[in-house]
């Protein structure tokens, strides 16, 4: 699987400087198109990042591009302000509290089911797995109200427990689908010899399946983490907007409404929320890509 970081030039490279220049001239439309697209895609993020480091009065009176002309004026004041005064610091911690268990629980639950679907025989196995594939596309909206009702009856709305359970339920179809495809591709002989040696399915699962499935588990983990970290709808409905539990997207959405034109604070708050997913993404991008592919393509 060669994706984001597995570059393989499709062209046979000619050697020598002259040839390199020749190919550059001959293929300038390709380079131009890619550079223009790249810059267009980068522009909004650069505008945000630049503005978040500019003094408040500058952000509100002159365009962000002026930051790159003399005199240079950059400040960390906006970050200090949002982290201390606008509950963004608290929300960051809340987001971690929401995201980490909401990632760990579905990994385990999905891995158990995936192993059963891949290597155990039971009546209705294919029908049930087809049901899981169907559930992949169910819109959250069609489930949210009764889920909210159920969690209200259990008196756990507004608690982290409620949102962990909900995100586990919503993330499971993708997790089962991805892990089952991966675990199902493990060699049959390996299981046979393990069972001949007297291993129980539990032993086989923890000693063989889990260690060998790390790539697939990592990709599901990253995907689920990003999904939960960035989620607004489920958090808004199940956790509500009280600052002591509100994760970052909920807090920022309410800042957008209350601050309106407070761009110096909004840009800083938005960047705080982007920082962790970007680190996760750049650190583990090859797993992330595999997660997206999710068995849709054998690469």
């Amino acid at each position: 699987m060669t994706a984001v970081n597995g570059a393989q030039p499709g062209y046979r490279e000619r050697t020598g400087v002259a040839a390199a220049i020749g190919s550059l001239v001959e293929r300038w439309p390709i380079h131009l198109t890619l550079v223009v697209i790249g810059l267009l895609w980068l522009l909004p993020s650069v505008a945000l990042l630049t503005s978040s480091f500019r003094p408040a009065n500058e952000v509100l009176t002159t365009g962000w591009w002026n930051a790159f002309s003399l005199p240079f004026e950059f400040t960390l004041q906006n970050y200090q302000d949002v982290l201390s005064r606008n509950n963004i610091g608290q929300s960051f911690i809340n987001s971690l509290f929401v995201s980490i268990p909401a990632t760990l629980i579905p990994i385990m639950v999905a891995a158990f089911a995936a192993y059963a679907f891949a290597w155990m025989d039971f009546p209705g196995r294919n029908a049930l797995f087809t049901l899981v594939v169907g559930l992949l596309v169910i819109p959250l909206q069609s489930a949210l109200v009764p889920v909210l009702q159920l969690l209200t009856d259990l008196r756990i709305t507004g608690s982290f427990l409620a949102i962990w359970l909900a995100h586990t339920g919503f993330g499971l179809p993708f997790g089962i689908f991805l892990l089952r495809n991966f675990i199902g591709a493990l060699p049959r002989e390996m299981f046979e010899s393990a069972f001949i040696d007297g291993a129980s399915p539990v032993t086989a699962f923890f000693r063989l399946v889990l260690p060998l499935s790390v790539p697939a588990i990592a990709s599901f983990a990253i995907f689920q983490f990003m999904w939960v970290w960035n989620d607004l709808l489920v958090a808004l409905i199940i956790l509500g907007g009280t600052p002591d539990v509100a994760p970052l997207p909920v807090q920022i959405a309410s800042l957008v409404q209350s601050l309106g034109q407070g761009w110096h604070l909004l840009t800083a708050a938005a960047f705080v929320s982007m920082a962790l997913p970007l680190v996760v993404f750049f650190g583990l991008q090859r797993y992330f890509v595999r997660g997206i592919l999710g068995g849709s393509i054998k690469g």
């Binding site: 970081n5 999905a110 849709s296």
Partner: protein, 318 residues
């Protein structure tokens, strides 16, 4: 409770509980004869998953369907009134029209950009850099993207980049998000910015699967680059394009966050996702909200069936 203590309990305790369940089942299985164990065991392994799926997806969806046949407070059966009420309001047709615009333009541009970028980056050495740049928006939340683009689209040319460009070429600043259909198209631009990375990655993986010998052979036979692209690459990439397109169509149908954050569904930008939220919380009409959700689900069913058929075909050749 002390935050750190709670964090430790949660991160260690919750997975430990799940592991304890599976280990526990094996002890329970020792109580039954050895020959019956393989018949019971699979059900114990899939049970937690199905408990979650039934509680959070299957039962709620059925329940939503029932609620959609009830009145605003959910205590009286009203038949199809909620559906009829929605379809008889002009605002709802506007909502459906917006979703149709999302499906056509969002899906179209995401797929086209995805193909173009995948094919072009395949031919340069800085492939990794371009792909990372295009992919960054995928890692950003819709809310953060809403802030980014609210900033881009701001009316004040000293703040909003787009209006700064318009005034730079001698135009008057435009209230970009206030007039339909311009605002819907500008929201779709945000969606394209966020999702092109997704399409690019999958299409690029599909592209790498096409044998280079085949392309070389075509070039040797005198095919130019456009013929290679339209006659060979595109047909071979068609199944991958179908995967991407169905995913993006579902995303277009479910669109919520971008619209909620940037316009709140006002100024004619309402989509099914925001209408559902507004019916539920602002108008407080549970029945109508459920009907909106079911309409959304029905719109997705054909795509779902397509997904299942494709999955079964894939299983058949496994």
């Amino acid at each position: 409770m002390n935050t750190l203590l709670m964090a430790i309990i949660v991160v260690v305790g919750v997975p430990a509980l799940v592991v304890a369940y599976i280990v526990g089942t094996e002890y329970v299985l020792r109580l039954v004869p050895e020959t019956t164990r393989p018949r019971i065991r699979p059900w114990l392994w899939v049970a937690p998953a199905f408990l979650f799926l039934i509680t959070f997806l299957i039962y709620p969806t059925i329940r939503t369907f029932i609620v959609s046949l009830m009145n605003a407070r959910g205590d009286e059966f009203v038949g199809l009134d909620n559906y009829l009420g929605l379809f008889s309001s002009g605002a709802f047709w506007q909502t459906l029209l917006n979703n149709a615009l999302w499906i056509v333009f969002f899906t179209g541009f995401v797929v086209i950009f995805g193909i173009v970028i995948a094919v072009l980056t395949d031919r340069v050495r800085y492939e990794t850099v371009v792909k990372a740049v295009i992919f960054i928006p995928m890692a950003i939340s819709f809310v953060a993207a809403g802030v980014i683009w609210g900033f881009m689209y701001n009316f004040d040319p000293n703040i909003g980049t787009v209006n700064a460009l318009i005034t730079a070429v001698g135009g008057e600043p435009l209230p970009l998000l206030l007039e339909w259909p311009r605002n819907t198209f500008l929201l779709i631009v945000v969606g394209i910015w966020m999702w092109t990375g997704f399409a690019m990655v999958i299409l690029s993986a599909g592209l790498k699967g096409i044998s280079t010998e085949l392309l070389e052979a075509a070039r040797m036979d005198g095919a130019n680059e456009f013929q290679v692209f339209f006659r060979i690459i595109l047909p071979l990439l068609a199944p991958t394009i179908a995967v991407v397109a169905t995913t993006i169509v579902i995303t277009a149908l479910k669109t919520f966050d971008i619209v909620y954050v940037m316009t709140g569904g006002r100024f004619g930008t309402e989509v099914i996702g925001t209408l559902f939220y507004r019916q539920l919380f602002t108008i407080d009409n549970d029945g109508a909200a459920a009907a909106v959700a079911i309409i959304l689900l029905l719109a997705i069913v054909p795509v779902m069936l397509f997904n299942i058929r494709r999955f079964q075909a894939q299983e058949a050749i496994r």
